[in-house]
Symmetry: C2
Subunit: 344 residues, 2 copies
């Protein structure tokens, strides 16, 4: 397979004995061209299977009609949903999308930004890596006046638009639900403490406790590094706590699933001995046994909204001032939080 040559406007022009600019205008359906000329050119273009060279076009008009997306990892169902929403919306608005994953590393995140900027994307959608705790690279983007929007994993002190979930609210919802089911000793399994969502969800957890008059107990706040090992450690730790918590709220579903799996090897039963809840509503949450109570956050919608806002910004349809869009989450009650023995 040799490299195929593309038909260019020049070739159409030569074939028809007109100038390249005429071809250009014809293909743009310019009103100042003779209809018959336009017709002939359109015909020839079709026949020769002409396709505009987007690179040349972008270079000329200084707009690539391409957006860059950086997510921590594509294989996460949540981020895949975001990407899906971004793609669909961007495409219908005439934009392409280049996707990168940071693999949760700040170095990769920076490299991705460089590449995408070099590729002349018109704007960026970024969800920060787990490692990202310094923000010069984002400030640089801001100073270079490159449009970008942060979503889900954001940093609040960057003066750009952000789309997030009401993480605190979602955590509040689920902890409130646990409290209403009669649980009092509720543990919170957090991720690394500097993560945006760790903080926000802890906020909601604490607020719910306060609202229900349950005193905060630091020993009930556990931290996992979100690896399988970390999650299993937490699971073991809970088993050996005395007194054992009545319910455990995990910051994200995968932690809850790992914990649940580990507990199954012991005598502890969910929800009979201990209730469990997660956050995200991953596909796995619905199918584990017992099904996991969790908080649904529609990634597709988030992607859609983030990209819509970015495009509005690019089109000048959105205000110059950064806005913060906060999406609501939905509590999904399943069996893992239903205290059957004492209730039925």
């Amino acid at each position: 397979m040799k490299k195929g040559r593309q038909v260019t406007m020049k070739e159409i022009a030569k074939k028809l004995g007109v100038s390249v600019s005429t071809v250009s205008r014809a293909l743009q359906d310019s009103p100042e061209l003779h209809p018959e000329t336009k017709r002939k050119i359109a015909e020839a273009a079709k026949e020769m299977n002409y396709r505009p060279n987007l690179l040349a076009q972008s270079l000329r008009i200084s707009r690539s009609k391409t957006l860059g997306v950086i997510v921590p990892e594509i294989t996460s169902h949540f981020f895949a949903s975001c990407i899906s929403g971004i793609q669909d919306t961007a495409n219908t608005r005439g934009y392409n999308v280049m996707i990168c994953q940071s693999n949760e590393r700040i170095a990769q995140e920076k490299a991705n930004i460089q590449t995408l900027v070099s590729s002349q994307v018109d704007g960026l959608l970024i969800s920060l890596s787990r490692e990202t705790n310094t923000f010069e690279h984002l400030n640089e983007l801001y100073e270079r006046e490159i449009n970008f929007v942060l979503f889900d994993r954001v940093e609040e002190n960057i003066p750009v638009s952000k789309v997030t979930f009401n993480d605190a609210g979602g955590a509040y919802q689920v902890v409130k639900h646990l409290l209403e089911n009669g649980f009092r000793r509720i543990a919170y399994v957090s991720g690394p403490e500097d993560l945006y969502i760790s903080k926000k969800r802890k906020e909601g957890y604490l607020r719910a406790l306060t609202d229900f008059g349950v005193p905060e107990d630091p020993s009930l706040i556990l931290i996992s590094d979100l690896t399988l090992e970390g999650n299993l450690q937490v699971a073991q730790h809970v088993l050996h706590m005395d007194p054992c918590p009545e319910a455990v709220f995990c910051m994200i579903d995968p932690v809850a699933v790992d914990v649940l799996t580990e507990w199954k090897k012991s005598v502890i039963r969910v929800p009979e001995d201990i209730a469990l809840a997660g956050f995200t509503d991953n596909p796995t949450a619905a199918v584990v046994e017992p099904p996991l109570t969790t908080v649904a956050q529609p990634g597709y919608e988030m992607g859609k909204l983030a990209v819509s806002h970015l495009l509005d910004q690019l089109d000048g349809q959105a205000s110059e001032d950064p806005v913060s869009i906060v999406l609501d989450t939905t509590l999904v009650i399943r069996k893992s939080s239903q205290h059957l023995p004492s209730k039925n």
Copy 2:
């Protein structure tokens, strides 16, 4: 946020009083330039935060160093894994990736191809949509001498390289496992019959039966359209079959999971009353109750291999002749196929 202007070579040239071509050569570390000149230019470039304009570069050298990827849907864990493998490998080899999803529709697939070709990608990696049963768009690519590689969902009659799993072999593995566990009446739940994987996995299923001297029974071959409804219909159908199959092998995990969930509402128990197996080893397979026996197909590896081959082709390192790379699958035995009552 106004649109930021990028530093160009022209500006570096002006600042240093040299020509643009000198700057260009300096940044390429050309040996014919005076070292001191190179040093000064490199310094200025760094100071001015120069980034090459990849669009202009690509236009000039007629290579975009970008690959296009088309998958049926990004939110599928398997395809997300493929993408991840593609990304990582492409990046380390200096290529960017543009990802599109066809949403399982052929029209979208065609549109994606158009866009990516217009964007001057150097090559394409395509996994066909469920709807794709005509192939002119692929033949056109071939005739236009555009490099592309098909993966996972391929069409055999296109003369390009393909990367697939040994689908028939994987199905054989799992059905053989069921047969060895003593099951004889084994049903196969297929997807739409013109799907590549439907055919291949059926092949393996039938071959295993033959090898074990079990006659083929057409009533044991069921077809789902792979929607939730379709899967539930199949689940119900199996419940009402008389005699009931002893084991059910589903073409893909999601079908098995849906079927399992539906059966849980009935009196039927897995694996006590009926064994169940899937294919793909989705994350859900490991966490359902009982855990699902399935066939693991490493998507990350597939992506890696597919893109490696494409890049070798682009670099002229691979032969011109299309090759067919077949990856082996791994049988993952879990509880859903363990006939506990009769065995223990």
